[in-house]
C-alpha cells in the first residue's frame, strides 16, 4: 500500500442481472478508485449500470434479483465483502453516505426535516438529544438552508426541490463520512438550482476532505465538477482519466461519440426570415389557473401561468421558448394548440383566429398545427399499432383508411424507421424510436407548424443528437415552422433561430439566438446562461474521427 490508502477501491466488480435481461452482467469487471478529497464522475447513458455500482458499494442492490457475483470493494482498505449485515449498517450513513436523485421522493413525507437528519445521529452516535439538535442545526446551516431554525420543523413537502436536496446532503454529511456517493443528485433540478447544488457539493467536499463518487449522464455536469472521469458503457468501463484528458482528448470511440453528441453552446449563424409570411402569431396571450374548489370549500389564489405573451413565427423559422419549470412554457404550447383554452389574447394560425374557432373550424385547423410531446412512451396509446397511430389523424380528417396507412408507411421511412415497424406496438421500441413515431404522427397531417414540447429531454444524449438532427433536416425539407419548448439552453442553441426566455409566465427577453447568447439583456437570462453546467468547456470537435 502506498502512503495514502484510497477512500474507495472497486476491483473487478461483477454484478449479475436476473435471467431474461438484455445482458447477463450489469457490471463486468469494473475497477475504480476514489481518493481522499477527490470527485470521481462515473458517466454513462441509461442502462449502463452506473447506479448499480453505487448500490453494490452500499450493499443496497435489489437482491436476490440483482446481486454481486465477483470482485472486491474496499472502503479505506477494509474489504466490505465479508462483513455481516450488522457491520454494514454501522458503516452506512456513517463512513459512507449517499445522496439520491429524486429529492421529491427520497425523504419520508411523514417526518420533519430535523427528525430525518437527527435519525442519522441517533443511529451512529451516543449524543444526547440536545447535542444532536445542535448538530442538526449546524448541518442545516452548513448546507445554506435559509432560516434553519424553522426548517428543522418543516415537513419535506413544505420546502422546495432544491432545499430538499440540501437536506439530503446535510443528512449524508452529518457523520462526516469518508465516502459520499451522489447518484444523479441534480438531474431533477432546474438549471439555476443545479449549479447551486453542484457548488455546494464542491464546497463541502473540500471542507470535509471526503472522496466523492458522482454518478451522472450529463457531460456538462462532469465538466463542472469532476477531478477524474470514468466512462461506462453497458457495464464495461471504456475509459478512465483526469477530467481534462477525458473531456478534451477522449480516446475511446464511445467516449468520443458521446462527447460529439453534447450540443455546443455556439448558436448557428442567424438566418433571415424577414420576407417569409407569419404562420403563427400570438398576441397578448393570457392563461390563469384557478385552484378548483367545491361548492363550499374556500378558493385559493389564481396563478397566472401565461401572462401577456406575444410572438410571431414565420414560415421555416424555429422559435425556442426556454425557461425553468413553472415558467409557463408548456402552457404556451398547450394554448396555441388549444389543448387548453386561453383566458385572453389572440392566436392566429395562418391569419385565422384559433382561440375563437368553432368546433368544426377548429377540427379543420388542427391539421395545420401539430405537436410532438415530451414523453414518447406516454404520448403513444400503448394499445395501438404504429401504423394506426400515424394514420389516425388523416383518417379523422377524411383520408380513406387504406390510403392513410400507405402514407403512414412512407412516413416511417421519412423519419428513418423501417416500414416493418408499422405492424408493431409502441412498447417494442426504444425511446428514440418512439419519438420518431411521434414525429411521423405529427407530420402525417402535413402541418405548417409543429409545436415540440421538450421533445428530446427524456432521451439519452446520443439519441438526443440524432432526433435533433432529424428535426432540423425535416424542417428544411418540408419548410416547417417550429415552436420549440425546452428547458435546455444547449438544445435551444442548436436548433432555434430565435429564442423567447420565460420567467413566471412572462417573456422577459426575445431575440435572435446568437444575440441573446452573446449579449443577454435581461438579468434572468444572464443568470440562466451562467448556470449552464460546463459553460466554460467547449466540447472538442471529435466528430470526424468518431465511429
Amino acid at each position: 500500500m502506498t502512503a495514502e490508502t484510497p477512500v474507495l477501491q472497486i476491483e473487478d466488480l461483477r454484478v449479475a442481472l436476473p435471467e431474461g435481461s438484455d445482458r447477463p452482467l450489469a457490471l463486468d469487471r469494473l475497477s475504480l478508485e476514489v481518493k481522499r478529497g477527490e470527485i470521481v464522475c462515473l458517466v454513462g447513458e441509461s442502462g449502463s449500470g452506473k447506479s448499480l455500482a453505487a448500490g453494490a458499494v452500499m450493499r443496497l442492490l435489489p437482491e436476490p434479483a440483482v446481486r454481486m457475483t465477483g470482485g472486491r470493494i474496499l472502503l479505506e482498505g477494509q474489504d466490505l465483502a465479508g462483513l455481516p449485515e450488522r457491520e454494514m449498517r454501522r458503516l452506512r450513513g456513517n463512513r459512507m453516505a449517499m445522496v439520491f436523485q429524486e429529492p421529491m421522493t427520497a425523504l419520508n413525507p411523514q417526518k420533519t426535516v430535523g427528525w430525518q437528519i437527527d435519525e442519522v445521529l441517533k443511529l451512529h452516535t451516543d449524543l444526547g438529544r440536545k447535542a444532536r439538535a445542535e448538530r442538526t442545526l449546524r448541518m442545516l446551516e452548513q448546507v445554506h438552508i435559509p432560516d434553519p431554525r424553522s426548517a428543522i420543523h418543516a415537513y419535506p413537502h413544505q420546502v422546495s426541490g432544491g432545499q430538499r436536496q440540501r437536506v439530503m446532503i446535510a443528512m449524508a454529511l452529518a457523520m462526516d463520512p469518508r465516502l459520499i456517493i451522489a447518484d444523479e443528485p441534480t438531474t431533477a433540478l432546474d438549471v439555476t438550482t443545479q449549479l447551486q447544488i453542484l457548488r455546494l457539493i464542491r464546497e463541502l467536499q473540500e471542507g470535509h476532505g471526503s472522496g466523492v463518487l458522482f454518478i451522472t449522464h450529463d457531460f456538462g455536469v462532469v465538466a463542472e465538477i469532476a477531478d477524474r472521469v470514468a466512462v461506462l458503457r453497458r457495464g464495461e468501463l471504456v475509459e478512465q482519466g483526469t477530467a481534462d484528458e477525458v473531456l478534451n482528448r477522449p480516446r475511446h470511440p464511445y467516449t468520443r461519440a458521446l462527447i460529439a453528441a453534447v450540443p455546443g453552446l455556439t448558436p448557428p449563424a442567424p438566418r433571415s426570415f424577414a420576407d417569409a409570411p407569419v404562420v403563427l402569431r400570438a398576441d397578448r396571450m393570457l392563461k390563469t389557473f384557478k385552484a378548483r374548489g367545491g361548492l363550499l370549500s374556500g378558493r385559493r389564489e389564481a396563478v397566472a401561468a401565461v401572462d401577456d405573451v406575444s410572438f410571431d413565427l414565420r414560415r421555416g423559422e424555429t422559435l425556442g421558448i426556454v425557461g425553468e419549470s413553472g415558467s409557463g412554457k408548456t402552457t404556451v404550447s398547450r394554448c396555441v394548440t388549444r389543448l387548453l383554452d386561453a383566458d385572453g389574447g389572440r392566436v392566429e394560425l395562418d391569419g385565422r383566429d384559433i382561440l375563437n374557432a368553432s368546433g368544426r373550424e377548429l377540427r379543420a385547423m388542427r391539421s395545420k398545427i401539430q405537436m410532438v410531446f415530451q414523453d414518447p412512451m406516454a404520448s403513444l396509446n400503448p394499445r395501438k399499432r404504429v401504423v394506426d397511430l400515424i394514420a389516425q389523424g388523416p383518417i379523422v380528417h377524411g383520408t380513406p383508411p387504406r390510403e392513410a396507412r400507405d402514407q403512414a408507411r412512407e412516413l416511417l421511412r421519412l423519419v428513418e424507421l423501417s416500414p416493418a415497424a408499422a405492424e408493431r406496438y409502441p412498447h417494442e421500441f426504444s425511446g428514440g424510436q418512439r419519438q420518431r413515431i411521434g414525429i411521423a404522427r405529427a407530420l402525417a397531417l402535413e402541418p405548417k407548424v409543429i409545436v415540440a414540447d421538450e421533445p428530446v429531454s427524456a432521451l439519452d444524449v446520443s439519441v438526443q443528437a440524432q432526433v435533433l438532427r432529424l428535426l432540423a433536416d425535416l424542417r428544411e425539407r418540408l419548410d416547417l415552422s417550429l415552436l420549440f419548448v425546452t428547458h435546455d439552453l444547449r438544445v435551444a442553441a442548436q436548433l432555434c433561430d430565435r429564442v423567447a426566455v420565460m420567467e413566471k409566465g412572462r417573456v422577459v427577453e426575445m431575440g435572435v439566438t446568437a444575440d441573446v447568447f452573446a449579449e443577454p439583456q435581461h438579468e434572468y437570462t444572464r443568470k440562466l446562461l451562467s448556470s449552464i453546467p460546463g459553460r466554460d468547456w467547449t466540447p472538442p470537435d471529435v466528430r470526424d474521427n468518431a465511429a
Binding site: 449498517r89 452506512r92 453516505a97 449517499m98 413525507p109 411523514q110 417526518k111 442519522v120
Partner: protein, 324 residues
C-alpha cells in the same frame, strides 16, 4: 377556529347527501305495493272501505306524492319520523332504543378487524412469500370468502351446542339481573360470537390491504434512503414504512362502516340482538315503512359522522394534509 369552520362546512356538505338519500328512499318506498294502512288493515283482519278511507286521510296518504314528501321532509327536519304501528311508539324512540347495541357491535367489530388485520398484514408483508406469509394470506382469503351467517351458525354449533361456552343469542342473560361488572361481563359474553362473525371478513380485508400497502411502501425511495443511513429492518418498519402504509387502510375505514352496518342485519338477526340491523330486517318483513325510513336516515347520519372522524384521523396521520 379553523377546525370549527371545517366541521361546519362538512356538516353543510352532508345536507344535500342526506336529502338525496331520503327523497330517493321515500319515492322508492312509495313504489311498494301496499302502504301502511294496508298493512294495518291486514293486521286487523279487514275493515270496511269507509274506515280505510278515514285512516288514509288521517295518515295523509290521500294526498299527492309530492305533498306527502314535503310533509315528511318538514317533519324529518325536526327529527320526527312518524309513528311505528308495529312497536306502537314514535319511530325516533324505537331507533334510539336500538342504536346502543348496534354501535357497540360495530365498534367492537371494527376495532378487532382493524387492529388484528393490520398487524397480520404487516407481519405477512415483512415475511413476504415465506411460509408465515402463505399461511396468513391463505387464511385471509378463506375468511374473505366466508359469509357471516354461515360462520355464525358454525360457531353456534361449536361454542354453544357442543362446548356450551357461549350463549346462543340475546344481549343479556334473561332473568339473571346482573349488576355492575357482572352485567358488563354478561353483555361481553353475548357479544363475542356476533363480533367475531361480523369482523372476520373485514379483518381479512384489512389484512390484504395492509399487506399490499406495506409491500408497496417498502419499495419507495425514502425507505432506500433510510437504509442508506444505516437504519435496521425494525426501525425501517416502525418509523418509516408503517405510518405511510397505514394511510390507504385508514381511508377505507369510513367506507367500510356502511357495509358493516349492512352486515349487522344478518348477524343481529341470527343472534337475536336488539339492534338496528334486526330492526331493519323486521321492518322490511312487517312493512313498517316509517321505521325503515328512520333506519335509513339514522344509519346514513352515523356513516357520515364516522367518515368525518376518519378524515380527521387521516389528517392527523398524514402531515401533507391540512384541514381546509
Amino acid at each position: 377556529m379553523p377546525f370549527l369552520i371545517y366541521a361546519l362546512r362538512r356538516a353543510l356538505q352532508a345536507v344535500p347527501v342526506i336529502l338525496m338519500i331520503m327523497v330517493g328512499a321515500f319515492l322508492l318506498l312509495k313504489l311498494a305495493p301496499g302502504d301502511t294502512v294496508d298493512a294495518l288493515v291486514g293486521d286487523m283482519g279487514g275493515a270496511d272501505a269507509q274506515f280505510i278511507a278515514r285512516l288514509r286521510a288521517e295518515y295523509g296518504l290521500d294526498q299527492p306524492v309530492w305533498v306527502q314528501l314535503w310533509r315528511y321532509l318538514a317533519k324529518m327536519a325536526q327529527f320526527d319520523f312518524g309513528w311505528s304501528y308495529v312497536y306502537e311508539q314514535p319511530v325516533s324512540v324505537v331507533l334510539l332504543d336500538r342504536l346502543g347495541v348496534t354501535l357497540m357491535l360495530m365498534c367492537a367489530s371494527l376495532f378487532f378487524a382493524f387492529t388484528i388485520g393490520v398487524a397480520l398484514g404487516a407481519i405477512a408483508a415483512r415475511r413476504a412469500y415465506s411460509v408465515t406469509d402463505n399461511v396468513i394470506s391463505t387464511l385471509g382469503l378463506v375468511f374473505y370468502a366466508t359469509p357471516s351467517f354461515f360462520l355464525s351458525l358454525m360457531m353456534i354449533v361449536v361454542f354453544s351446542v357442543k362446548l356450551g361456552w357461549l350463549p346462543v343469542g340475546g344481549i343479556r342473560t334473561i332473568a339473571a339481573f346482573y349488576t355492575g361488572w357482572d352485567h358488563v361481563l354478561d353483555v361481553a359474553r353475548h357479544l363475542v360470537m356476533p363480533t367475531a362473525a361480523l369482523s372476520l371478513i373485514y379483518l381479512a380485508f384489512y389484512l390484504r390491504l395492509m399487506r399490499a400497502s406495506v409491500l408497496e411502501v417498502a419499495e419507495l425511495d425514502f425507505v432506500r434512503t433510510a437504509r442508506a443511513k444505516g437504519a435496521g429492518e425494525g426501525r425501517l418498519m416502525f418509523h418509516h414504512i408503517m405510518r405511510n402504509a397505514l394511510l390507504p387502510v385508514v381511508t377505507l375505514l369510513g367506507l367500510q362502516f356502511s357495509t358493516l352496518l349492512g352486515g349487522s342485519v344478518v348477524v343481529e338477526t341470527i343472534f337475536s340482538l336488539p339492534g338496528l340491523g334486526q330492526l331493519a330486517y323486521q321492518s322490511v318483513i312487517q312493512r313498517d315503512m316509517n321505521t325503515l325510513m328512520g333506519i335509513i336516515f339514522l344509519s346514513s347520519v352515523v356513516v357520515i359522522v364516522v367518515n368525518f372522524l376518519t378524515d380527521l384521523l387521516y389528517a392527523r396521520l398524514d402531515s401533507r394534509i391540512e384541514l381546509s
